[in-house]
């Protein structure tokens, strides 16, 4: 519990609205498949991800289950939940951190050494992917991750299943997680294939405004001198956001998206020369999630605009050696041009 106290409140982070929105949207709708946060060092990337813990909603899980089985949907072969009368627990969505130095067996799971040596039994020792099921998998410096780990990650992120075929263990379990990665682009880019796996991508920069920067220092100072007090002060705001997220989660399934809006999304993707279809699918889902977050039943063009800003920067077919990024104005113009057209008709 001690560690929890020292978490900086999410709502106390100054600026970086797009990053915060990206994170929140993923909490509301885990099928957005994660967010990649690109930025220089010291831009509150990691702080924000860790702070997420406070605003995460609660889910039902089977007590002590290594795979966080959903009581409504217990895995057929879950070695833990098969025994009758297990308790159901309400607990917050977990953030599992994947250190850059992780070994493959730790990530995907391996033979339970103790059991094997003591009794000669083959049993699985679940890895980080099992822990992250129904939760968030956070990789700091994701661009520095070892290649074969990236491959494994890609594999299970794509399939939603972690398949273990190693060291005498043949097992597979669902691994649906929100992948959150942070990286500093100065240290090398991410492979396009992994890039595409992240539903959303935000580029963040240090804040330019002097007042904002002063505010950052002030809050940081306050926080460090008395974290408890500071957290208390921001508690209501965090709670507000938390409630809003819970509401949005319920609301999401009711959000409608008009065919005209879908058409808009497709033509925007075509216009901007986006690789593959994942970009469009993500834009659609993101726009819907934004609408849900705003408690609206129908997706509007502003939602699409915001969704494009989050979903497209890393998917635009780049000229060789061009920076990852997106001209906001292009999207804005494109969308507003049509608003004008529509209103003319």
């Amino acid at each position: 519990m001690k560690t929890e106290k020292s978490i900086y409140p999410f709502t106390a982070i100054v600026g970086q609205d797009l990053m915060k929105l990206g994170l929140i949207l993923n909490v509301i709708n885990p099928t957005l498949s994660g967010v990649l946060i690109r930025g220089e060092k010291g831009t509150a990337k990691s702080t924000a991800v860790r702070a997420l813990a406070d605003i995460l909603p609660e889910i039902d899980v089977m007590k002590d289950c290594p795979f966080q089985c959903d009581p409504k949907d217990i895995l057929m072969d879950c070695p833990h939940c098969q025994s009758p009368r297990q308790n159901v627990l309400k607990c917050k969505v977990k953030i599992v951190e994947l250190p850059v130095s992780s070994t493959e067996d730790r990530v995907i799971g391996t033979l339970d050494i103790e059991q094997a040596l003591k009794s000669g039994e083959k049993r699985i020792e679940p890895g980080l992917l099992a822990q992250a099921h129904r939760g968030i998998l956070y990789v700091d410096e994701v661009n520095l991750l070892d290649d074969h780990i990236v491959d494994v990650l890609l594999d299970s992120a794509a399939m939603g299943v972690n398949k273990i075929e190693r060291e005498g263990i043949s097992f597979s379990h669902p691994a649906c997680f929100v992948l959150i990665g942070t990286m500093n682009p100065e240290e090398g880019e991410l492979r396009p294939q992994l890039l595409d796996r992240f539903g959303l991508c935000v580029n963040i920069h240090g804040l330019k405004d002097v007042n904002d920067r002063v505010e950052i220092i002030k809050r940081r100072e306050d926080f460090e001198s008395d974290p408890k007090q500071f957290r208390k002060r921001w508690q209501t705001k965090d709670d507000e956001l938390s409630n809003k997220i819970i509401l949005a989660r319920k609301f999401y399934s009711e959000v409608l998206i008009h065919d005209d809006i879908l058409r808009k999304i497709v033509s925007l993707a075509v216009e901007l020369n986006i690789d593959g279809h994942r970009g469009e699918i993500m834009m659609m889902k993101t726009a819907k999630t934004i609408a849900a977050f705003e408690q609206r039943k129908e997706v509007n063009l502003e939602n699409v605009e915001m969704a494009a800003e989050l979903c497209l920067p890393h998917r635009i077919r780049r000229k060789p050696f061009e920076n990852i990024g997106l001209d906001k104005k292009v999207i804005k113009n494109y969308i507003q041009k049509d608003i004008a057209e529509v209103s003319n008709v």
């Binding site: 493959e104 190693r166 597979s172 058409r263 279809h277 469009e280 050696f321």
Partner: protein, 640 residues
Amino acid sequence: MLLTQQKNIFPFSAIVGQEMMKEALLLNIIDPTIGGVLIRGKKGSAKSTACRALKLLLGKDTPFITLPLSATEDMIVGSIDFQEAIKSGKKQMSYGILHKAHNGILYIDEVNLLNSHLVELLLDAASCGINRIEREGISFKHAANFILIGTMNPEEGEVSPQFLDRFGLSVSIDNELNIGNRLLILQRREKFDKNPDEFVFRFRGEEERLTKKLKESKILLKQIIMPDDHRKLVIEIVLENNCAGHRAEIIMSKTARAICAFENRNTVTIEDIQKAAAFVLPHRTREQKEPETNPFRPSERKENNKQDNKDQEKNKDNFRSSNNGSKDNIKNNATDQESNKNNSSDLTDPPSGTASQSEINFETGELFNLRKLDSKKDRVFRKGSGRRSHTKTKQKVGRYVKSIMCRQDNDIALDATLRAAAPHQKNRGRNKNDKIIIKDCDIRSKSREKKTGNFILFVVDASGSMGAYRRMVETKGAVMSLLMDAYQKRDKVGLIAFRRDKAECLVLPTSSIELAGKQLQDLATGGKTPLASALELTGNMLQTAFAKDKTVRPIVIFISDGKTNVFYSGRDPLEEAFRYAVKLSDEFPAKYVVIDTESNNGIKLGLAKKIAIRLNAEYYQINDLKADSILNISREVMRL
């Protein structure tokens, strides 16, 4: 032991477009002896979705087994069941993936990323249809006939030619361009996400119809007639396309038959054969052209962009005229085109401003050189790939690939040790609840493999003499191609350029290939040749590299004419350069390559060669200085 619920699989018949891919998969169900399919395509083009959906179309007696990239050797071929051995003292097989996949489909996602060592196992079993197990005291074999289905994104590297040949068919897929279809994709996805059960139910009829059709085709297949003329045609097509071996023609006629059966006809037509050829030949034809565009290949890309843009314009027009009938069309299109023009000129124009009067920034010679590269690509590139970056490692890092008998560094392979110890437990007197008795002779160590991103240091002469005869253009093209290759192998690269008075490091060792590429494009040529300075700087950079990682295997590629003419420390420049060259090769065990850019016209001094001798380097002449030959050189070198 698959725990996931099948209801959440997107139905095959709900996949929009990508007809080639869908057909290739279905043909394999009709006739499994076609031997699988390799689907090549960019990310997000429904490759994996289609393969997973295929599973539901298979009969119950056809297994669909997924091979994860992280699989270990023993799990693929099978091994002793240690649990059983410990409990009962009996040696019993625990079957591997190859056994499970017998008479079924073995599916590998991102097949190009599969460890080469596992690829060999698969090839071995696939070529004789039998999996032989000789390990841990068991000798066993079983039939292993499986259909390989793989997906890959060619941006991430290639597959070896032998492996490629194992896939009966191959298809390259691209994005759906039709806006209507794209919209349909989105709508279906939306419905699927909202209510998967309902969505699957909605397509159940179609899925059933397809399954029935496949069954009928299977029966019909036996009655298909192939006219003799058509057989000849098949062989002619294969010969014309210069395919190795006979597999191509065999698979092509099988495929043509399957197509014929699927279309519910009795006699194979020429169209069937043509269609089959499109599936069978692309990955077998030598001197083929890669259908994909490469992320770092601006010249091709430019054309593609133009093409795409044209399509887009068309699409946009359709869309607009049908929907809003806006009158701004022409105006918009005009401005769009103008901005396109600007964009494309950005690609080729060298950035201005960096070049002073004595310095010229030459364009990067991609267009010519890389086009050349294409044709050679198949033979050279694939042979080298996969091996170059692998190395055994003694540290406890890297991927555990297999277990070995000798003991090293306490990096014990527990699973293998247990398997070795298991059969002896009874003899060693273990009682029921005792701990396992392990003796020294049981201990197995992990053999690990790590990708040692090679460090490639380019030392490029940017003096005035390099400006002649498009040398710099070609050099840039070559280095750029190497950078692309380095991206796929995840190498680190560094760039030193020397001109005027001294050498300077333009790119510190980085895995950001993009950064190196940018610097290279901006590299201006002019001034004298400070070779000694370049050699010294190379030494400094190698020293840092070795200090960071002792196992690094740097490759240093000098590209120069060797006509050094800058007094570095008051001595004769050439002597100075020789001295540094000897020192460099003595101190740092790197692989050195010198590429001589001296022209053949006029008097030859052969200075670069002399330097190469002192560096103990491999030496190549300017005549080889075509992008593809430089590339081959470094690939030869890196294959070690």
